[in-house]
């Protein structure tokens, strides 16, 4: 009965959830990536010989397997959903919770994330691995790959659960992992590669202990994720005490009037709701931890276009992530805004101020890193501060004021939940990011001219903030009813 219901749910989601455009885009991407994986699997030697001429394809893969799975895990973490919400409708029925959890844990394995890697590994195993070592070693090797896929699947569920219930612990783990990876990479230790090579090399030569080690790891994450889901389900429906850290507030001067209240509300919205808060943390992480990786790679940021992207995200990451869903964040209480004496231009002004301030704060957070690792890119960082505050914010607000997709902010939890996103949000990245990147590329011969032009453009746009505010307010007034209709629709 559960299997039939889940099959129906999946089928209907496929039929109704996405528009035609998105369905075509997704189908093309799936076919293309499947083709790439199969080609890589069957003809890996043709690629590996170019990059690692003195190493066999199996050795190349063996030493990259752990890093590969970390990368796949990251993709999984961005897109794969947990079965927790699927269980909720069945909780009131006379079904054993243990059975429900075991069913949904098992059913969650039917994910594209678990099958796609096999498109590479099976042909690779047939063509290259089978030619090396004993038969038992071949079988153990492919079993180890499968174990790692399953472990990665349940580790994702476990990590998402940790993020939901103990986000502080999650961020500690994340920071620790990034720091260790950074040290391993920059200090030239290559520990991760050595472990990977040793582990899979041993398995291929028939060492059962290494396989048992992997199997134990998989067993641990399966059990831990099941226990975590069980606890999570057990707590469903119980009234939870509000998190005291979330109710911390601050006053705004009375003279600031409605504008001050709106700015405060924007900041509280960010702090008190999980999804906006995650966007804030991700932007901060990019502008600090991730930027260290990008900047410390030495001369590889020579391409002007890549440097432009770096500048765009270093101070404009928050604008690009969070800003595009502005007004969507307000969807559940938009009637509260438009029936009160809240002029649209004040609403826009508050959002513009918050976005511009975020550029300044991220700029300051990442400036020491630029100075330390790449002082030559400091002028670029300055130029993009003005460009992001002046131009990127405006482009993003143009998108945001045309957004009528509902986001149920109180329920919209977790990392990379795409509620409220539509195809136009993905496509809008082109006019937002492409112009400065192309501009920097075209003027790569005279980077100073390019940077001064971008900064100048940003500065002029900042000076015209009042005009932009009026422009967006007019748009909001015209689109008020369509936005209200979209925001009230739960099928967005």
């Amino acid at each position: 009965m559960l299997a039939r219901n889940q099959f129906r749910v999946s089928l209907r989601q496929m039929q109704f959830k996405q528009g035609w455009f998105m369905r075509i885009v997704i189908a093309v991407m799936m076919v293309y990536s499947a083709f790439i994986l199969l080609t890589l699997g069957f003809f890996f030697d043709r690629f590996s010989i170019q990059l690692w001429p003195n190493t066999t394809p199996v050795d190349v893969v063996n030493r990259s397997l752990l890093a590969g799975f970390v990368s796949l895990f990251f993709i999984r973490f961005l897109f794969q959903k947990t079965p927790r919400m699927k269980i909720t409708p069945y909780l009131h029925l006379p079904l054993q919770r243990r059975d429900l959890i075991l069913f949904f844990q098992s059913a969650s394995l039917m994910s594209i994330h678990n099958f796609y890697p096999l498109l590479f590994f099976i042909p690779f195993w047939m063509r290259y691995v089978a030619a090396e070592g004993p038969l038992s070693g071949h079988l153990m090797w492919i079993s180890a790959v499968c174990l790692l896929i399953v472990a990665s699947h349940f580790a994702n569920l476990l990590l998402r659960s940790t993020l939901r219930h103990r986000s502080g612990l999650f961020y500690i783990w994340l920071s620790l992992f990034i720091t260790l990876a950074f040290i391993d990479e920059t200090a030239g230790i290559g520990l991760q590669q050595r472990i990977s090579e040793f582990l899979f090399g041993s398995i291929l030569s028939g060492d059962f202990t290494s396989l048992a080690l992997l199997a134990s790891f998989m067993g641990f994450v399966v059990v831990a994720s099941t226990v975590s889901l069980f606890r999570s389900v057990k707590g469903m429906g119980e009234a939870s005490a509000p998190e005291q850290s979330l109710v911390r507030s601050f006053d705004v001067p009375e003279e600031w009037g409605v504008l001050g209240q709106l700015i405060r509300m924007e900041l509280l919205l960010m702090w008190r709701n999980r999804r906006p808060r995650h966007y804030l943390f991700v932007s901060l992480l990019f502008s600090t931890m991730y930027l260290i990786f990008m900047l410390s790679t030495g001369g590889s940021i020579s391409a002007a276009a890549f440097a432009a992207l770096l500048g765009l995200f270093a101070s404009g990451g928050f604008v690009l992530n969070y800003g595009q869903l502005m007004f969507g964040w307000d969807s559940t209480h938009y009637p509260a805004m438009v029936t009160r004496n809240v002029p649209f231009h004040e609403m826009v002004r508050a959002k513009l101020i918050v976005l511009q301030l975020s550029c300044l704060l991220l700029f300051l957070a990442s400036l020491p890193l630029f100075i330390w690792f790449r002082p030559d890119l400091v002028p670029l960082h300055f130029a993009f501060l003005f460009y992001n505050a002046g131009v990127t914010t405006i482009l993003i607000l143009e998108l945001a004021t045309r957004n009528s997709q509902r986001i149920d902010i109180a329920r919209s939890g977790g990392f990379f939940n795409y509620e409220g996103f539509s195809a136009k949000h993905w496509l809008w990245f082109i006019p937002t990011a492409l112009p400065p990147v192309l501009f920097m590329q075209v003027l790569s011969g005279s980077p100073r001219v390019a940077l001064v032009s971008l900064a100048g453009l940003g500065l002029v746009s900042i000076l015209f903030s009042r005009g932009w505010t009026r422009y967006f307010a007019r748009g909001l007034h015209h689109r008020k009813h369509s936005m209200l209709e979209g925001f009230s629709s739960r099928e967005s």
């Binding site: 509000p242 009375e254 008190r272 559940t332 209480h333 509260a336 004496n341 009813h481 009230s488």
Partner: protein
């Protein structure tokens, strides 16, 4: 405030949600909007607050087109449902925001909120609780309080008595009666509670299937008449 609806029509597919050729509310009038489920009461109120665009017709407030002029918002207090609350705020933060939209200082807000202490004793409410963590009844009280404490000229409330405990219903009724007595204040209260609505409102508009069936001044027999009307009503038509 004088409110006028002129040739208003709102249609969803084949169904007429609202069809009001002409209707008006005079300055100082207190009107009760009654009708079965699906009669069009909420559509009526949403159009009146410019939350929904009618397919035809216009709404005017003091002679000005509602959609073109936003001055009415600074004189109107309304609460239809939870979407009128900003649920990630605490009660004081939300009330402070609403007060600011009416240009009230913190002192003025505090004084005015004191007038409603019997309805929602803020001193006894957990100030750190977010609105989304409140029960349905308490959230409704906050919404109603936000609509009323700013002393608006025009009050619009949808089902204000539903989900409130009996003492709160009685206190709210007293507050509405006393506010209705103040000159120059117009009110529209939609409710299924015929007793409360006839106690508070001097005029009753009865909607059925999107059309005004009766528009009467309150009299001694109004409550009995309405009860008779709904007792004889074919409830299946409303769904």
């Amino acid at each position: 405030m004088r409110v006028e609806l002129n040739k208003i029509r709102k249609i969803y597919g084949e169904k007429i949600a609202l069809d009001v050729p002409a209707w008006s509310l005079d300055d100082g009038e207190v009107l009760g909007l009654v009708g079965s489920n699906g009669a069009g009461k909420t559509t009526f109120l949403r159009i009146l607050l410019d939350l929904l665009q009618p397919d035809e017709g216009s709404v005017r407030i003091d002679g000005r087109e509602l959609a073109l002029d936003t001055a009415w918002r600074g004189r109107t207090g309304s609460f239809l449902d939870r979407s009128f609350l900003i649920e990630y705020l605490t009660i004081p933060e939300y009330l402070e925001f609403v007060g600011a939209t009416f240009g009230l200082t913190k002192r003025e807000m505090s004084d005015r909120l004191g007038e409603f202490e019997s309805f929602l004793p803020l001193s006894r409410v957990d100030q750190n609780r977010l609105l989304r963590d409140l029960s349905t009844g308490n959230a409704k009280k906050v919404g109603i309080l936000a609509a009323l404490f700013v002393h608006p000229e025009f009050v619009v409330l949808d089902e204000p008595f539903a989900n409130l405990d009996p003492p709160s219903q009685i206190r709210l009724k007293d507050i509405l009666v006393s506010m209705a007595a103040e000159p120059g204040r117009s009110m529209i209260i939609s409710s299924h509670d015929l007793g409360h609505v006839t106690d508070v409102c001097g005029r009753i508009t009865l909607l059925e299937s999107g059309r005004i069936q009766r528009d009467i001044k309150r009299s001694e027999s109004t409550l009995a008449d309405l009860k008779d009307y709904f007792a004889g009503e074919d409830v299946s038509s409303a769904t």
